[in-house]
Symmetry: C2
Subunit: 597 residues, 2 copies
Amino acid sequence: MSNYRPPLRDIRFVLEHIGGLEGLSALPGFEHVEADDVYGALDEAGRFFSEVVAPTNRIGDENGITWNADGSVTVPDEMTAAYRQYVDAGWGAVKGDMEYGGHGFPAVMATAIQEMLTSANMAFSLCPMLTSSAVEALEHHGSDELKAVYLEKLNTGEWAGTMALTEPEAGSDVGALRAKAWQEDDGSWRVQGTKIFITWGEHEMAENIIHFVLARAPEAPPGTKGISLFLVPKYLVNDDGSLGERNDVECVGVEHKVGIHASPTAVMAYGEQQGSIAYLVGDVNAGMRCMFTMMNDARLHVGLEGLGLSERAYQLALGYALERKQGRAIGAPKGHASPIIEHPDVRRMLMTMKANVEAMRSLIFDAVAAGDLRNHGEDERARILGSNRMALLTPVAKAWATDLGVEMTSLGVQIHGGMGFVEEAGAAQHWRDSRIAPIYEGTNGIQAIDLVLRKLPLDEGRVVTGYLDEMDETATQLAESTDGLSAMAGPLREAVGGLRATTEWLLDGTDPSDALAGATPYLRQFGVVAGGYYLAKSALIAKRLLAEDGDDSWLQAKIDTAVFYAHQILPQAAGAAPAVTAGADQLFAVDTEMLGQ
Amino acid sequence: MSNYRPPLRDIRFVLEHIGGLEGLSALPGFEHVEADDVYGALDEAGRFFSEVVAPTNRIGDENGITWNADGSVTVPDEMTAAYRQYVDAGWGAVKGDMEYGGHGFPAVMATAIQEMLTSANMAFSLCPMLTSSAVEALEHHGSDELKAVYLEKLNTGEWAGTMALTEPEAGSDVGALRAKAWQEDDGSWRVQGTKIFITWGEHEMAENIIHFVLARAPEAPPGTKGISLFLVPKYLVNDDGSLGERNDVECVGVEHKVGIHASPTAVMAYGEQQGSIAYLVGDVNAGMRCMFTMMNDARLHVGLEGLGLSERAYQLALGYALERKQGRAIGAPKGHASPIIEHPDVRRMLMTMKANVEAMRSLIFDAVAAGDLRNHGEDERARILGSNRMALLTPVAKAWATDLGVEMTSLGVQIHGGMGFVEEAGAAQHWRDSRIAPIYEGTNGIQAIDLVLRKLPLDEGRVVTGYLDEMDETATQLAESTDGLSAMAGPLREAVGGLRATTEWLLDGTDPSDALAGATPYLRQFGVVAGGYYLAKSALIAKRLLAEDGDDSWLQAKIDTAVFYAHQILPQAAGAAPAVTAGADQLFAVDTEMLGQ
């Protein structure tokens, strides 16, 4: 039994009207894609995640994983069984290259699947998520030989992938890593070094684990320019594709974490004995580029964790609010206790969750669809447009959505009252699980710096300005709307105006210290305004569909949700703006030594 | 060893300049109070909590408590040992009535002690906290006979207290409770019923536990008008004051919680056998009044949990940010990794924590000092002023500070990066512990309703208006300041103006549904503005002291912290305002059945 209901209608709405699935399916390479087939497959996927994966969530949290003295890691049987079914059903292979066992569908479809998987069991979802990032790295940077051996098995999920970047002294500062690589006389590579925080670094859920390890080749320059990427299989692969000897790769421990208990976060010792047998991916010293390929894919998926957990927490809280009776709501008959959903404050929390969930889904799917355009656009201009849009939105998708993930799951706890603090109710798990997402794959502070220093200047600022223009165009359409939607035009226009002002300030040769100081509030402002934009756009679309198709209370709810956001959440963006442009001096005014007095 | 450093200088500053300790010590009943003695005692208390209690925090979290099949609860030995020392040192008796073993000091001094205790070990602190609430109930509503038997032992902490209000169907809606009370032929009372979520409901840390149980006497009217308060001792007390037989009171289980693992949250069965022997406190059917006496004391203490955990989390994060090196800060020599505290984004998180900690401390201590005025004011007018101010600020202290507690401890996690998610680092525990505070002693939604429906109308709105006038007066003083402080006048005046507008809207005969709909954003707006007011006022005081005493970098840091808050946090208040006045319709526009589609 599961209490997760896949939000298929909203996923379809966003794929159709924000992600532009029809348009994507007309692009070169997607000739075999029919939108109706996609929706049919998503229905099927939703059933699978709801019925097979979602029930493993509490089991995984309660039992966690176990690190054994022989270096193996035990995962709950229920999860291993569900993983086998996941692989057999082919859900991991949706977007993969058709030459290598994939189905060649748009990434935005894979994202819809990954969202549902994350809602069903976030700890579990990290295994396919990292495999997907490994696939990206191999597809874009791997030699044909490596692809031939590894890509199909990774696409199907028979083998799992990892990203082995972090070391004790090299977290956010990847360039400080010390793991080393060298070539033997026969030209083959070896890798040696200890990596920490390796998600799904060791387990037996998949037959093999393919580690993607960053290390320094001999005489590599210091910093990020001297990093190379290596593929390090747990089991070596024989010429016939069967599994051979165990490589020199050992899990020497796992972390005791606040959440995602069922996901092994491993300390990995590579090559402690004689060096791990490794295969170079991409060129020597070009590892950072490969890493960013993996990272960008992973960052969007981490944003999806904020969305997926918020969705699940919302459903759980909604169910509780419908059942739990306390107090009498205004207008209810005397002497009767009302379901707490009838109390305005509980309703506010639920509407806040619902509105933010829909806003996050739109922004993330838009970013991923832009990635499909980057890869499949008909001409270079289209591909560059897609690439730039994806680049701009990736840090927002990652940081805004994961901060919201913590906040929305916290509202889920609050709606449960005292039961929210009791593990048995399940609300607390979503909140605990959510807390890692603002940290890994580049902390949200790093995302904000990326947005401000690297993404705003793209194409001399035209990428962000074009996006702002889109938002203003939506505000204009709202203003021209003859119905109730016109009242949303003012708040949206004002919010976009505020974002344009801080954007221009950041682009206008601002001192880098001041820009860094304002990065985090700017990203928040950006996310809140973008959320309002997507919901407003969705409301306009819903209005049009209502005019075409007549009464549909789902579409009306979509509009009402946008109205709530425009008037009650969107104004928060203005509250963040003054901190964007306040400069660094105020942050450093208190002497470091006085901070602790 | 402990990493908690009691913030004695800021506590003293707030006691002196916000709490008005000198003025309080001149009031009737406080003739024996010398401010210098208070500060001396706080230094001593700080040493005790830092050295004796703080080291038990991780032990308590890791080991938790154990419920045994015989109904007993085992607490870690280290905590029991620390509790004995706490009792022996007399820290629990500070504000108690001198006739009954107390030291008769102002409540605001006890609050300073309770803050440090909470920072040291929140789970532990709940035991004295509930005892303090029990003392309040007994002092104000108990008969002389009951006081003679129970009050001294509760004051010293030799016996602990509980508040047994909640039942499975009666949480926020206390009036729905079903526990029953009756009189035997000899006139003695019996109580029977099951209560849940009873903090420190069972343990052997204290010799006896005195339960304060709400129940319905025979023929009681329905709802809150039919509730009576009973004192139910775990062990009956013999005529000579020694402990006698065990009462019919049993702990039948404890909750498995997300945080405060070392605090037993008990399911208590009262009177399952033949009825618990009980003693009526106050009049029959007057239990709600007694409960509010306990609750109001407890609510301020819960607000203190937001403060105490934020302070401890801040210190931990600051220590980490000073040690941990990643990346090169702007201006640092090439090739060197900088402590992360040099990065603007980390600095922003630390300054946000520091500023909010100081703001919370001021507001809570002000509220408690108003309570001292209520109890000890020289004339009725002073006592009413104190009572009203305390009443106004209590829901803000409880809800704003506990919401901030979750947010600030979450920043503490974030500053730790990957280690923040690992339990070993300790940051996660503060975050987990913080999550209960917005829920218990009246959820924060209930606090917001209390503020809007009961507190704003006090004295026909003059209480809140007077408080707003105080804030405006501070803005005027800032504007008249000839130095750098004048730039804070604008933001403060604007924020107070915004709060005045929403306050007037709420007072102005607004439909109750609309007022309820806006209650939570209003409370947030109120807290953010009040925080800015206290910091601005503190900055003016610090400026004056600097002019008198010359160079003092601590006072300068106080000013710089206020400047940061005024320009970067205070503007968030305006972002909350539109949601206050948006009305209930937007919250209920989406049909209940469509929320789950």
